[in-house]
Symmetry: C2
Subunit: 189 residues, 2 copies
DNA sequence: TATTCTAAACAACAGATGTTGCCTAATTTA
DNA sequence: TAAATTAGGCAACATCTGTTGTTTAGAATA
C-alpha cells in the first residue's frame, strides 16, 4: 500500500494522479496485457523513467488501482465500520458482485490474466474485513478458516455471476448465494 | 488444452517434451517471472522461434504444465471416475492441499503472480470434476452455484494451508476443513 | 529570500518479446 | 521409393522492459 495522499509533495501527487487516470482510461480502451508502460506514460505526458520511480511495474499499478477502487466501494457502503450480521454479509456480497461486474464491463478486454491478477488484491481486502467482523463478536475460536472459506466463496460467487450469459438481478442472485456463505459464519452471529 | 499426445508428429512430441521438461526444471531453480522464453529454449536446445510455434507465450506454457500435473494427481487417485460422497470429497480436498503444497515447495520462488496464474487452471479442473460428481447423483437442481462455492472454498483452504507457517499434517487440516465444504453439498449425497 | 532537497526529464543500455521469411531436414503419403 | 508436407533452424525486425547517470526545475525549510 502506498502512503496516504495527505502530506505528499504536490509533484508526486500530481504524477500519481496522472498515471492512475491514464491507466484507468487505457483499461477502458484495451486489454491490460496490451497496455505498455510506454502507453501509460505517453498518455500521462510524463517520462517513462518517472513511472518506475513510483511503481515497480505495471502489475503493481494494477494492484494499486484495483485496491483503491474496491476500498472506495466498501467505504461508500460503510461496510468497514460494522461487524458480522446476516444483513451486513448480504450487503458485502452485493458489493463484491456489483464491483466485479462493473469492473469487467468497464474494461475493454477483461481476459483471464487480468482477472487472475485483480483477484488476489480484492480477496486480501475481503479477508481482512471478514476477520475484523468476526473478531468484533469476541469469539474464542480462531477465525482464519471460516474467514478464508467465506472470502473465497464470496469472490467465487461474484466471479461466477459476472460470467453468466443471462444474469438475474444482483439482488436475486445474492439471495440465492447468501445461505451458502452464511452457514459457516452463523456461529459468530 | 493441447490435442492428445497420441498421433502427433514425433518431432512435435519431442519438442514439446523438451520444452516442458526444461520449464519444470527451471521452475525448481528460479521464479516464474524471471524465467524467459530464451531460458527455456536454451535449456531445451531448440530455437526460440520454435517455442512460439507451440505456445503463444510463457503463460500458456505454465497453464499447460500445471494442468498436466494436476490432472495426473487426480487420475492417480482415481477421483475422476467416481461420484459425490463425503469420503471422495475428503480425498479430493487432500489431493488439492497436497498438490498445492508440493507445487509451492518445489518451485524456487512461488510468488504472488505465479500463484494467481496457476489458480485459474486448477480451479477450472476442480469445477468440472465437482459438477460431474454432482450430476452423477441425478439431481434436478442446477449444480453451478454449489459447485462454484465448493471449488473456491477447496482451493482457498488449500492455498491457506500452504501459506501457514506451522502446518498440521494435511490429514488433520482436512478433517477440520471438510465440514465447511461438505455442508453445502450434502443435499446431493 | 537564499539554500537545500528531491521529483521529474532525458538519453542510453543490455536484454527480452513476438513475428517474419527463407532454408533444411525429418516425416507422412501415395 | 519418390513426392508432398511440415517442423525446426536461423537471422533480422521493431518494440518493450527495467535500470542508470546526469541535468533541470520545483518545493520545503532556514
Amino acid at each position: 500500500m502506498l502512503p496516504k495522499e495527505e502530506k505528499l509533495d504536490p509533484r508526486v501527487k500530481r504524477t500519481r494522479g496522472l498515471i492512475l487516470r491514464s491507466f484507468e482510461d487505457l483499461l477502458a480502451e484495451k486489454g491490460f496485457e496490451s497496455i505498455s508502460v510506454q502507453d501509460v506514460t505517453d498518455k500521462a505526458e510524463i517520462n517513462r523513467a518517472t513511472f518506475y520511480a513510483h511503481f515497480p511495474d505495471k502489475y503493481a499499478l494494477l494492484d494499486y488501482s484495483i485496491s483503491q477502487m474496491f476500498m472506495n466501494e466498501i467505504e461508500k457502503r460503510t461496510l468497514n465500520v460494522c461487524s458480522y450480521s446476516t444483513d451486513n454479509l448480504r450487503n458485502l456480497i452485493l458489493a463484491v458482485v456489483e464491483f466485479i461486474s462493473r469492473l469487467h464491463s468497464d474494461c475493454a478486454q477483461p481476459h483471464q490474466q487480468f482477472e487472475a491478477l485483480t483477484e488476489g488484491t480484492i480477496k486480501n481486502i475481503l479477508f481482512e474485513l471478514l476477520s475484523h467482523w468476526l473478531k468484533q463478536t469476541g469469539t474464542k475460536i480462531s477465525t482464519d478458516i471460516p474467514a478464508t472459506v467465506a472470502t473465497w466463496a464470496i469472490y467465487g460467487l461474484a466471479s461466477h455471476y459476472s460470467h453468466l450469459k443471462k444474469r438475474p438481478s444482483p439482488e436475486k442472485f445474492v439471495d440465492e448465494a447468501l445461505p451458502l456463505v452464511a452457514v459457516n459464519l452463523e456461529q459468530f452471529a
